[in-house]
């Protein structure tokens, strides 16, 4: 038989003013299992708590009901108090006599009756509770960052500087992401390579950072503090322990391929570094285009390599490691505008280019060595049209959202063009100009002063006449049709999530929104955390943003990771679900609905009717289960229950209430 102690509180006059606490106590003494009832002026005060502790020990109490303010207020206080006594901290129930009784009712007799019911209910529940123990979850003091753009690099550096080991997985052959493709960055116009490549080398040389380039996450299991991640490093066909990065191979390779880094505007070899300052600063062989690997003839690179680093027999390598925390910094890509905008030529005019192509065209190490020359005939365009919001803010064809960086970088492009082609003319078609940011509006106004002509409206059609691209649109401010004959058109296209993020997010049970961006745990208060404990977000993986915002978010994600890795152990919440294996059918209905992927179906051996049988049963991972209880209702066999809120305890609470 249980020995329940009931401790009721006056809370000064807060409760006692409307509830006859002594009458409630009198009633409580008659309840089954109750061996001791005490009232107190302020139970939560130090002497009040001391009194509760002493009573527990003196009266040999094994379960406790308190009747003070809301459990949302002091439940942790009471659990802590119990931890210092022989009573298990989870053998506790709080009757909310203040917020949900004395403060909302005026009639003392009615409020007292309700308070009695609340106490009856708590006593009925506590009698059915069983002791629970938190388990300690070890924390592996190592972080994994997925994506090596500016956001991923900054996160890794901040974590590594705090003294923790970090691995970056980057699927391209080099770190840098989109930032390293940019020429200059608004609003200060620093050369992007000059501020991005030092970060890349810092990451590459940091004693606490391991860079896994040309690699992707293969699979993952586990939970906060203990993610077991398998990484696939694609075959590079070059032994990086021997390669010195001299580049002799690249100059001799006969196979020429479209250069993705230069946005298709030049060629590279099959053995290649993404760009000269790549980190790691060593090439890989693109197997699909290597003559040796495809046809078995050539082998020139192996002949010229002075260190014998080429290995045509190389294979993908899988490595598995355990990480305490994971950061998604997988970035964005530009929307494929061609199928969406046939009215802009759908890709058939080579001189209709994207913003990223423009970045490479103005870049001194780009395909034109920084001279703005249009792709079709390498002539300097004397008139350029820039179209903003291509695919952004256009729910019919593209995305409903604003891509946030384009207003600023289109002003940058206009400025750069007018700077390099002083006798050129530049027209910018816009819907709105949005420049919230330090120095941003000033930057835009400067571009207008440079002579860029801003026209408010969308371009409805682009067609070719002679060697001109005729852009037809409307200036909605003057309500007039405008036609501009341009030599080149730059489309500032929408940002969309990186390729493959759907599969990757599913592996980690990280949520995505309707547009595919990764979802933060709370839009305002937990912007860098995800709903899966131990997984964080940085940069454009979470949604479109510019570099300063990506870096801020990277720092925020890093500080969350550092906070986690600083702990040696985490205490798990023991109020989680539990399987009654005798009843479990192993059908996995529970596993299917768990939002945290906390349930797996495992084969287990049982002794049934004195025979050994192996059958599937559900297993709850205490590191992942958050205790929502959704699985318990789904289980047809009634095998799943939630500790602390068991079916039985709730049913008896209902029964106790129905006696009123």
């Amino acid at each position: 038989m249980s020995r329940i102690g009931v401790f009721l509180c006056y809370c000064g006059s807060n409760i006692a003013g409307t509830v006859d606490v002594e009458a409630v106590a009198e009633m409580a003494r008659t309840l089954p299992g109750v061996v001791y009832v005490e009232t107190n002026k302020y139970t939560c005060s130090d002497p009040g708590q001391e009194g509760v502790k002493n009573a527990i020990i003196e009266k040999g109490i094994d379960r406790v009901v308190v009747g003070p303010c809301s459990p949302r207020m002091h439940e942790p206080t009471w659990r802590k108090l119990l931890a210092d006594t022989p009573v298990n901290p989870y053998m506790l129930e709080v009757a909310n006599l203040r917020e949900q009784c004395s403060w909302v009712h005026k009639d003392k007799a009615i409020a007292t009756e309700k308070a009695k019911d609340l106490v009856k209910m708590a006593v009925a529940k506590v009698a059915r509770l069983s002791p629970l123990h938190s388990t300690e979850i070890p924390v592996h003091k190592k972080a994994l960052v997925i994506g090596g753009g500016i956001a991923g690099m900054q996160t890794a550096l901040d974590i590594a500087d705090a003294g923790f080991k970090v691995t970056i997985v980057e699927r391209e052959t080099s770190l840098g992401g989109k930032m390293v493709m940019l020429d200059k960055t608004f609003p200060t116009m620093d050369c992007s390579a000059c501020i991005c490549t030092p970060k890349m080398s810092e990451v590459g040389n940091h004693p606490n950072i391991t860079v896994k380039s040309y690699s992707e996450v293969e699979s993952v299991s586990g939970y906060i503090g203990n993610f077991e991640v398998t990484i696939r490093e694609k075959a590079k066909y070059i032994d990086y322990t021997k390669c010195t990065g001299c580049g002799a191979c690249e100059t001799k390779c006969p196979s020429k391929v479209i250069n993705e880094f230069e946005q298709g505007m030049s060629k590279r070899t099959a053995i290649y570094k993404m760009f000269p300052q790549a980190v790691p600063s060593k090439p890989v062989i693109d197997a699909e285009h290597c003559r040796m690997l495809q046809e078995g003839k050539c082998g020139v690179c192996a002949k010229v390599c002075p260190t014998g680093a080429i290995n045509y027999q190389d294979e993908d390598k899988l490595t598995t490691e355990t990480y305490g925390a994971i950061v998604f910094a997988t970035g964005y890509k530009l929307i494929d505008w061609k199928p969406l905008y046939p009215e802009y030529g759908g890709g058939k005019y080579p001189d209709v280019i994207t913003g990223l192509q423009f970045e490479r065209l103005v870049n001194a190490s780009g395909p034109t060595e920084g001279h703005i020359l249009r792709p079709s005939d390498n002539k300097e365009p004397k008139s350029v049209v820039i179209i903003k919001c291509v695919g952004s803010r256009d729910p019919n064809k593209g995305k409903a959202y604003c891509s946030r960086a384009c207003c600023m970088y289109s002003a940058k492009h206009a400025h750069q063009y007018l700077d390099k082609v002083p006798d050129g003319r530049c027209y910018v078609f816009y819907m709105d100009v949005r420049t919230p940011g330090k120095g941003y509006d000033e930057f835009y106004m400067n571009t207008v002063h440079d002579g860029a002509q801003y026209l408010r409206g969308r371009v409805s059609k682009i067609y070719k006449e002679g060697d001109k691209l005729i852009c037809k649109g409307e200036d909605t401010l003057t309500s007039q049709q405008v036609t501009v004959a341009a030599d080149m058109v730059v489309l500032e296209t929408a940002m969309v999530p990186a390729d493959g993020i759907d599969e990757l997010a599913a592996k980690f049970t990280v949520g995505r929104d309707a547009d595919g961006w990764l979802v933060e745990a709370h839009a305002k208060l937990r912007p860098v955390e995800t709903n899966t404990a131990g997984i964080y977000l940085a940069g454009t993986a979470q949604g479109p943003k510019d570099i300063p915002d990506s870096v801020c978010q990277a720092g925020a994600a890093a500080s969350k990771v550092i906070g986690l890795l600083n702990k040696d152990k985490l205490e798990s919440n023991p109020q989680i679900s539990r399987v009654n294996e005798a009843l479990c059918q192993g059908d996995g209905a529970c596993a299917n609905i768990c939002p945290y992927g906390a349930i797996s179906i495992v084969e287990k051996q049982f002794r049934e009717n004195s025979r050994k049988v192996t059958r599937p049963v559900a297993q709850v991972n205490p590191g992942l289960c958050q205790g929502c209880g959704a699985c318990t209702v789904t289980c047809r066999a009634g095998a799943m229950d939630l500790m602390g809120y068991t079916n039985e305890s709730i049913m008896r609470e209902v029964d106790a209430l129905c006696q009123w």
């Binding site: 809301s70 917020e99 403060w103 123990h133 958050q626 939630l642 809120y645 039985e648 209902v654």
Partner: protein, 179 residues
């Protein structure tokens, strides 16, 4: 034969409706606390039973309450899209809506079983919901079941292997933690 016979015509003088409200800890329970902090007033006919999430809400609790003489039941959770546990209230919404139709098919008056979404900030909505529920049930009169609604009570968790359960399985928590 329906399980409920309406006896609104024969309401005893001193009768007061009894209603149980199952409230999600993160939203409605918080909103109810806020109603207290704001010293709002509402009828005392409702008793709140705290559950961690509306997704925890098992229909059998409702049946138990009705069988044992409760005149009405409220289930309250977070607004769709706001669940603390991501998807719990979506499951609750589907389950409770189907269950409500089943109860109504069996003859239960719609006003006796209500499902509402109330956030932690909506103290006023909590008060109004309680007032409305009390008013609705009061108009219906005391519940009058012609027979118990049958259900299969879920088995309790066996207590015997307490130790075994609390011991952490080895595969789940590896011994060594790397530095």
């Amino acid at each position: 034969m329906p399980v409920v016979e309406n006896n609104a015509n024969a309401i005893p003088e001193d009768w007061e409706p009894k209603i149980i409200a199952f409230c999600c800890h993160w939203c409605t329970y918080t909103g109810a606390d806020l109603a207290g902090l704001n010293r709002m007033n509402y009828p005392a006919n409702v008793r709140v039973l705290r559950i961690p999430c509306s997704g925890r809400m098992n229909p059998q609790y409702v049946i138990e309450a009705l069988n044992k003489g409760c005149d009405g039941v409220l289930v309250c959770g977070c607004h769709p899209g706001d669940c603390h546990y991501v998807t719990g209230n979506y499951y609750a919404r589907r389950r409770m809506m189907i269950f409500k139709r089943l109860l109504e098919y069996e003859g239960l008056e719609p006003g006796r079983f209500q499902v509402k979404w109330i956030s932690g900030a909506e103290a006023g909505k909590f008060r109004d919901t309680v007032m409305k529920a009390v008013e609705d049930v009061r108009a219906l009169g005391p519940i009058n079941l012609t027979r118990e609604i049958p259900y299969f009570e879920l088995p309790a968790m066996p207590d015997d292997d307490e130790e075994a359960f609390n011991a952490v399985p080895e595969e789940v928590f590896p011994e060594e933690v790397n530095a």
